[in-house]
Symmetry: D2
Subunit: 380 residues, 4 copies
């Protein structure tokens, strides 16, 4: 299979670097375009970026020249698939422009996650929501009968992704009515430079701006349903308490759930271990390259999961669950761990792209004229 060209908006940031690391040897996608802020455009990636991952920066990427972050500047080099990891205010401005220019924008930003026509997707949980993208004006605006314009798809907040992976199997079988979640989040979730060492060395910061709100609202959209052009949030009441802890990578979450139907300890474990919704759904006989075989792994030891030991399960794409035990208030308590910059950010977007590829959403016709006004795209 020929690899498709992809681009990255916000390529030098923390999540941008993860995109490059995870896409470096990707069998389906090929990075051909990297965009950055005006300050960095024109420099090579190596010049503009302080690479801070523990694998080497690929030489080909190091030598690529950063482009300005507009579709116009890209001209014919504009790839039809664009991964976005820019901050929310910038995403709010840029992402609609790229969708209007005919690109599939697969975004890790929070800007449009809750928009009424933008899918917020974790493929194992709600891949069916992706069909709502057909209702986006840029998608429909193309001349001719078959819709093939640009669109925008988002993945959730880093905490929400690991959480809904553990919740989805329970919600499908038993129904979840209420839940508490308390998080212990790694510093990498704040980007770079992010959290000052003076604030977090040997310390806890019991607050992350907007995080509790995001977590509380995204869970409902993710576990809910979708019709052709709208989402029906699941009526789950979520109460979140979010903390920053001196951990580099890996968000830990302590969860208690109230189920609609009773479930035994064994039934909960079985729901998780049998949860393989993407199994065998790949393209051309291939599995989805980034999909973990088991999206939810249960660690039976008494003091697990732990960031240091369980972070890389499923190549960083699995949620590790442990300590399933009865709750004196609700039904079941458990602890989960998720890699916040792999599964919780770049890897989530890449898996979304893989699913979109399998669904044929990248089978664009000719490039559309740039006539869809960017501001028409999103109905918030």
């Amino acid at each position: 299979m020929e690899r498709r060209n992809v681009g990255i908006l916000g390529a030098t940031g923390a999540v941008g670097q993860r995109f490059i690391q995870l896409l470096a040897d990707h069998p389906w996608f090929n990075i051909t375009w990297l965009a950055a802020s005006d300050r960095s455009a024109g420099k090579t990636y190596a010049e503009a970026c302080q690479w801070r991952l523990d694998t080497p920066l690929p030489t080909r990427i190091a030598n690529m020249v950063l482009q300005p972050n507009t579709p116009e500047a890209a001209g014919p080099d504009l790839p039809r698939i664009v991964f976005s990891s820019v901050d929310a205010p910038i995403a709010r401005e840029l992402e609609p422009k790229f969708a209007a220019a005919g690109c599939a924008v697969i975004s890790n930003s929070s800007a449009f996650r809750m928009a009424s026509n933008v899918p917020l997707v974790v493929p194992e949980v709600n891949a069916a929501h992706l069909e709502v993208l057909e209702a986006q004006p840029t998608r429909r605006a193309v001349n001719g009968s078959t819709p093939s314009g640009g669109f925008l798809v988002t993945n959730p907040n880093c905490c929400a992704i690991g959480l809904v992976l553990a919740l989805a199997p329970l919600h499908r079988r038993f129904g979840i009515g209420k839940m508490f979640v308390s998080t212990l989040q790694a510093v990498s979730g704040a980007g770079y430079p992010g959290v000052a060492s003076l604030d977090i060395l040997g310390n806890i910061i019991p607050y992350i701006k907007n995080e509790e709100e995001k977590l509380q609202e995204e869970v409902g959209k993710l576990l809910g349903g979708a019709t052709a052009d709208a989402f029906q949030p699941a009526p789950i009441i979520v109460s979140a308490m979010c903390n920053r802890v001196p951990v580099l990578e890996g968000h830990t979450e302590c969860v208690s759930v109230k189920l609609d139907k009773p479930a035994t300890h064994a039934e909960v474990l079985a729901a998780w271990s049998s949860f393989q919704p993407l199994h065998g759904q790949g393209l051309d006989g291939l599995h989805l390259p980034s999909a973990p075989e088991f999206p939810v792994e249960y660690a039976p030891e008494e003091a697990r999961p732990q960031p240091r030991l369980d972070l890389m399960r499923g190549n960083g794409m699995a949620t590790t669950v442990g300590r399933l035990r009865p709750c004196s208030l609700f039904d079941w308590k458990f602890t989960l761990l998720s890699h916040n910059t792999v599964r919780g950010a770049a890897g989530a977007a890449i898996l979304n792209a893989e699913v979109l590829a399998v669904m044929g959403k990248f089978d664009f016709r000719a490039f559309p004229p740039l006539r869809t006004a960017a501001q028409e795209l999103v109905t918030v």
Copy 2:
């Protein structure tokens, strides 16, 4: 006022060192006797102990010779007031012997906390429970009419202390029916050597043996009532999720409470700020030396409390509360911080002793004969 002689069981351990630090210049108590395990008995304190606090080991203490940990070995040097910080299995064996020998044993151990005739006390919360000690057989067994024998009083688990200080003002005014609490506990709570650095550097351990159980059961006893010889636990349902984090000192707790009566944000804050139950209750015109002026301090900044910034409020004896906000499931959520080896251990026992002194419980008559069988003391 003449200072009373006190002794310390388990003087070389982590909590034992805190006892020595906090009692070094205490106006009411004077350390005259230090006991340790057989291995250390006979050595000077400086020889047997690797002092690991950041204030100097007092020279007088450094030169004291460690005694065997039995009342018999102490003979006439046995102090009538003994602070105990030995591990639970050892406490189970030793503490009744010292009570039977006529000592007031003020213990930080978990061994007898839930015993039916042993007060479990945080003075600001339930000082009245101390009267139950009069029902202990060692207390009553003294010849003559006035009870003046030895007894045993305990303070709660380090997490429970900080928690009930924040809960008590709310429970008194509004009633608490249910609550969730998720903890982020410092490594010093595990003693020394305690948690291996390989297990906790940049990591989270989502499990502390027996901690959730202790927290869930101690809250009810602490917030409940007491008659002459029994306790009536408060019917509060508590669900706890306990984690170890790479913090040196200071337990952070995320709490959500369901109240019996509605309370506004301002009413909750007022309940905390006006909570001064020990105000002006000292001896001879003195305040209780270890009682913080405000046992509950509210930090209004958006990202507080933090161990690094708020640990030493009230000389480490106050609970700092912050982030009071509505809960989508219960009524109010907040975060609290408490110094786990000061307020949560040695300081708690010392404050208990100060209250006992004010109550006259240390006004022993002649030393009782050693005839009360140790095993009679405690009814579990």
Copy 3:
């Protein structure tokens, strides 16, 4: 004694906060003026500053309004003593203006440390160097016979201070010809926000910009001599290797020295323990409030000094030395620890001010006219 009014340039920064903490109850100095950048001027201190020390921000300071950082803006409120903790480029511009305006500027900045007529002083080591301030043009420029104009005095780099305290007693008795020093420096040395947590959590950064150069050149000036208007650096060859480590406060330094005259283990220890150059040198029968009784304390235990245990010796103003042992290449190896934001920054400047007070350097006459051009002050 009436307390003298003092001001702080750069009052909201990390070192500025330490100045406020350490001066809050100072018996000789009284903060009456706080200056900050244009962005903060006009706000109260509490509004402009995110206080991040573990003692409370004094209420009086919290309510003070920040002033613009020029002598002109201060007008008659300009204090004659100004502590400066602004960054080097700003110090280069501002400090000469304040000296020219008649202020004694006592600076923690690196801007003028190596200037040929600016004393670089650690009082226990080279208080005599302070006399060179009389050669500064602002000092001499005053009309009339007695010099009483403004001047500029600096304290060394945070690493150099702790180091020269340990070196000075050895240099005086035995002479030091060469030395290696390898540092493990706390993150607080980089100010706030300073080092990103992503860079230092569980990591080592083996480089601190300009630090090795500063350490190598400041030692010579500090241990050298001074005549009326010039310094004679000591001919000590220093080789420094500087590292940032995940420690909050306290710089650790591993040192090996080559002595001119042989010295036994006991003689080195004696040199340190008898080093009390400021003993009894206070004002009006008072000791210098910030001077530690023993500027160099030796910790005999095998694994000391340690930041967690020894940081606060001498109220954070003493250097703790340990592990004195022979070196296979030079003569003696040892490890030292110094509090980098107390002794290494604000406390150093305050002690300089105390010595200047005792020397009568603050006995200014009438305010001089603002006619000394700022640019004349410093001869670099």
Copy 4:
């Protein structure tokens, strides 16, 4: 090629776990025997061991039953190649017994490193020293003409390995006469449970028992020569200062060297980059599986190497060097980083075994009779 059977002494410890991780898919060696202390013998590996690496414990190993640690107990199952990672006192007792029983003992222990007939080897540095094993009595004691008995080979201290890799290219070309080294060592170097978190969180411990001595003496043996039955240490004077830092894996070392012949910056870099002594020395056309292509990698960025970024270069088997700069006292200063439990322990022993395989030292004849007294083996 058929894989050879190997065994592991001390299989459940920290280094034992690394042996298992690194040998799990080794093309030349096959783990068939695991030994542990009497307490663990008889249990499965999974039962006896708390696996604490971040890759899964291989199922086959998990189910293997731990054997007693004597050759006799192994009987015919005794493998001819035994990796040892037991503590020095146990190694001193056990390793000679296994060599006497006909095994090639490849040890990570410090017990016999400085013995006069035991090779201490880093293959890129002094593989020729391995020939001295032919002088060991167990080797010669075999009946018949060709020596093919058991023997003992050791690898150096974890700090010495990374260091001599960086030194060897310089010593060969320019000669090293003197050197200073200051280390910042990870906690994993102390094994498990090793360093208590209370001692190292946010702290520095400026002492590691015997570490400076080991480093100072091993460098000379490693960089020296060997004749048939003796070693000639290089006359390099080393002065070491060793510190424990709150880093999980990776020892950082700050080095200054005095060279016999002058070398420019470019010549030093060239010496490192061209250092590939094992290049193309594999077996049957294969490279040595554990040998890094470049044993010394230079990182040109200003603040490198760093544990977090450079630890896994060469799959954890390369030394990363950075910050080459002139020294005011000696010639050149630089900083290096080495993975202390891969290159510094288990990986070092495995690479030694690979070289021994290529040299034919594992071409044992029939098993020798167990008649060589263990105590004859080693001449210290």
